[in-house]
């Protein structure tokens, strides 16, 4: 079930007509329930703070409505505890599947905690967990995209804040959101600023993220783009102004002016400037911080930090726009792109808005790239050949066993029955073996192998590969693939070059990363054991991915990169990890295994930080090289 307004509640200040008016306005625009079916079960108090529920609206009788509350204790008393109590004890809210919270007009935006200001939205997104400052967001930057669901809601809620200097302005923000949902299509320019005047290591990491986005995902949105140019590492490249804009993603230069936003005929959808205090206030009409300016200029949503989120706390544009592109709401996109919770960054604006792009539909995760499909089929074909190779070997052994009945051990002597047995069984044993000899099973596979090896030549005779109508060797070289010698031996029409063949005995083990610690964001490493028996009595080798050599993981679909000491994070659940066998005579290293034999593999994921080991997963694999 995709997220909808039915999954949200709106929090307002009980006793404030303006705040209640705003909540009702938002609810009406989204068709939310505002009626009370059981008045007696819809009111309560938390300490000395009263609350009242009307359908999906929760009024809290705040005694402190300053934008930033003085402490966590005050925040808990004023907001968190009443919300928790109301959700658990009111009839209306306890029956809702609550996936998100909108903090409405005049609701505090955060609280001081030491030198930091924790945003209300970030803290409330972890409503059912105790406060743990700057906790890794379990849903951050998931490599395998999925829409927010009920399981996700057990980890983090989608929380947003809609506030403004005036009620009219706050309602205007809602109107902008509804207009976007009605129109749907993003039609304005995307302004991106990749460069700042910061040059330390962490800053360069974020610049890399922005560059990656600019080079790869942004072009697929098919929007007009405008980007800053690099001048000098100590000069902050800035966007001078925007017009006909739909998105802005920039960093530093943390103050601006309303004149930055020129005329637009496009829908203004989302602006983010990565800086240290943009979200400090959105109710000060004199503010020159980006979130307030953006909302005032007609942007539907924006985000900003109330205090320094640190560089690794900035939003990630890749996960944000990947989510939007796949139909997620802005609330989901924000949650998937914010690295930490119980922290300083807040989403401002309507979380239930969404948009489409003039881009073609993104390729579904389940769709296999055609070159990758060829490679997968190559492996399956090789496995089938390895099976028949092994079958032939077994049946040859049967024949030898029959012969051995009378020849194995002369000292034992040969009885008449054994002689009869050998004579009787030899012909059918030999017949069986002959029917499964190499020449026979190779001839059974040959038409398919030939067709398969000829596939690239026929397929890419007009399409874009490096070589037009490539023969199989050209194709293998271009794609970086290798094939089994078992297949090469079968084909008569193609001679596979040595460089394109797998070594005899080479193997690669591939497995999927599982969510073994459902409550936490974890960096995983892996222990791989290989045994010759299914009971793992005879373990041939044990490999720990912390050694990283020959370990790779699927950073993006079908793109494998070297594993690092930091392991593979929870963001990559559902992606693959590979270990590739090594052979190096110079150091007497030989991990290669016997062709046609089946081996038993088991993998244990472990937590890099705590060293906790999770469950064992067992697999079998035939050596097909």
């Amino acid at each position: 079930m995709a997220i909808s307004a039915n999954n949200f509640i709106v929090v307002y200040e009980l006793g404030s007509l303006d705040s209640a008016d705003f909540a009702a306005y938002y609810a009406e625009k989204h068709g939310m329930n505002t009626s009370t079916s059981n008045p007696s079960g819809s009111t309560g108090s938390s300490g000395d703070i009263n609350w009242e529920v009307h359908g999906q609206l929760l009024g809290i009788q705040l005694t402190d409505t300053t934008e930033i509350l003085p402490s966590e204790a005050v925040f808990n008393a004023q907001l968190l505890n009443p919300i928790v109590d109301a959700i658990s004890s009111s009839v209306e809210l306890s029956n809702l599947n609550i996936w998100g919270i909108v903090l409405g007009y005049n609701i505090p935006g955060g609280f001081y905690n030491g030198d930091d200001i924790v945003s209300s939205t970030s803290r409330l997104s972890r409503l059912n967990f105790s406060f743990s400052k700057k906790t890794q967001n379990k849903l951050y930057n998931r490599s395998v995209f999925q829409r927010f669901d009920s399981t996700d809601a057990t980890h983090v809620l989608i929380c947003s804040r809609i506030d403004a200097p005036t009620l009219l302005q706050a309602k205007g923000y809602v109107d902008n959101a509804i207009e976007l949902n009605d129109q749907g299509l993003a039609n304005g320019t995307f302004y991106i600023d990749q460069y700042s005047d910061r040059a330390a290591l962490g800053y360069l990491d974020y610049q890399d993220i922005l560059s990656d986005f600019n080079d790869n995902l942004l072009p697929t949105l098919n929007l007009n783009t405008w980007e800053t140019t690099f001048q000098d590492p100590y000069i902050d490249s800035v966007i001078p102004f925007v017009e006909n804009d739909s998105f802005v993603w920039s960093w530093f230069t943390d103050r601006s002016h309303s004149s930055f936003f020129k005329q637009t005929n496009a829908l203004r959808i989302f602006l983010y400037n990565a800086d240290y205090d943009g979200g400090f206030t959105i109710t000060d009409e004199d503010s020159r911080r980006w979130p307030y300016l953006a909302l005032s200029a007609g942007y539907v949503a924006t985000a900003g930090a109330m205090s320094n989120p640190t560089i690794d706390g900035f939003l990630n544009p890749n996960s944000f726009f990947n989510a939007l592109l796949r139909g997620a709401t802005i609330g989901e996109a924000f949650l998937f792109s914010v690295p930490h919770v119980d922290w300083t960054i807040s989403l401002f604006g309507d979380p239930l808005t969404y948009c489409s792009f003039p881009a073609s539909d993104p390729v579904d995760e389940d769709v296999i790239n055609e070159h990758e499909a060829w490679n997968i089929i190559s492996k399956d074909l090789a496995r089938s050949a390895a099976d028949l190779y092994k079958k032939e070997s077994d049946l040859k052994s049967v024949t030898l066993e029959v012969v051995d009945i009378i020849t194995s051990d002369p000292s034992v002597g040969v009885d008449d029955i054994s002689v009869d047995a050998a004579v009787t069984l030899l012909y059918p044993a030999n017949d069986l073996y002959n029917n499964n000899k190499e020449a026979v099973w190779q001839s059974q596979l040959k038409p398919l192998v030939d067709t398969f090896f000829d596939f690239p030549r026929l397929r890419y005779n007009v399409q874009t590969t490096g070589v037009l109508a490539p023969n199989v060797n050209d194709y293998l070289t271009e794609q970086g693939f290798k094939v089994s010698r078992l297949l090469s031996d079968i084909s008569s029409s193609a001679i596979i070059e040595e460089d394109n063949l797998l070594d005899d005995g080479w193997w690669q083990f591939e497995f999927t990363v599982y969510d073994d610690d459902v409550d936490n964001y974890v960096n995983y490493h892996f222990i791989l054991e290989v045994a010759s028996d299914e009971n793992f009595v005879n373990i041939l080798m044990t490999k720990d991915s912390y050694s990283i050599r020959n370990w790779t993981y699927e950073k993006e679909k079908n793109t494998f990169v070297d594993l690092t000491f930091s392991g593979v994070s929870s963001s990559y659940i559902g992606r693959k990890v590979r270990y590739e066998s090594r052979q190096d005579p110079l150091i007497s290293l030989d991990e290669y295994l016997t062709r046609g034999e089946t081996y038993y593999f088991r993998v244990t994921q472990y937590n890099l930080e705590t060293e906790e080991e999770y469950i064992l997963r067992e697999y079998t694999n035939i050596i097909y090289s």
Partner: protein, 127 residues
């Protein structure tokens, strides 16, 4: 006697050969699944040509490696008949000599007219 030593080895080899041969069919199913999940359009003649050949080869694999071939049945029949002719029965031979055969071998034996009692089948290890 030597045959006693050999019987168990041969029966297990037959079991494993039949088992691994039958497994090949699953790889052809997997190939079809891969093509179906790929971005190569179903209407593409390249895909259709490859898919057709996979299906043809899968049929060959089924006939020659998943089903019990005449040669496979002949061998097991000959082996079991020999035992039956020289002992009270196959099952007596197995139980008297404390031999347990694997399930696939037992099934081939049943197919050729020599059913094996459950107590003579090692169902705990089908490898």
């Amino acid at each position: 006697m030597n045959l006693l030593i050999t019987y168990k080895t041969v029966a297990d080899l037959i079991n494993n050969a039949q088992k691994i041969g039958a497994e090949t069919v699953t790889y052809f199913d997997s190939m079809i699944d891969t093509l179906s999940s790929s971005e190569i359009l179903e209407e593409s003649t390249d895909r259709q040509r490859l898919e057709s050949q996979i299906n043809v080869t899968s049929g060959v694999m089924t006939n020659y490696h998943q089903l019990y071939t005449r040669q496979m049945k002949d061998f097991v029949f000959t082996l079991q008949k020999f035992i039956d002719d020289n002992y009270l029965s196959v099952n007596d031979f197995l139980s008297d000599n404390n031999i347990k055969v694997l399930p696939i071998f037992a099934d081939i034996s049943r197919t050729v007219g020599y059913p094996i009692d459950d107590e003579n089948i090692d169902s705990g290890d089908i490898s």
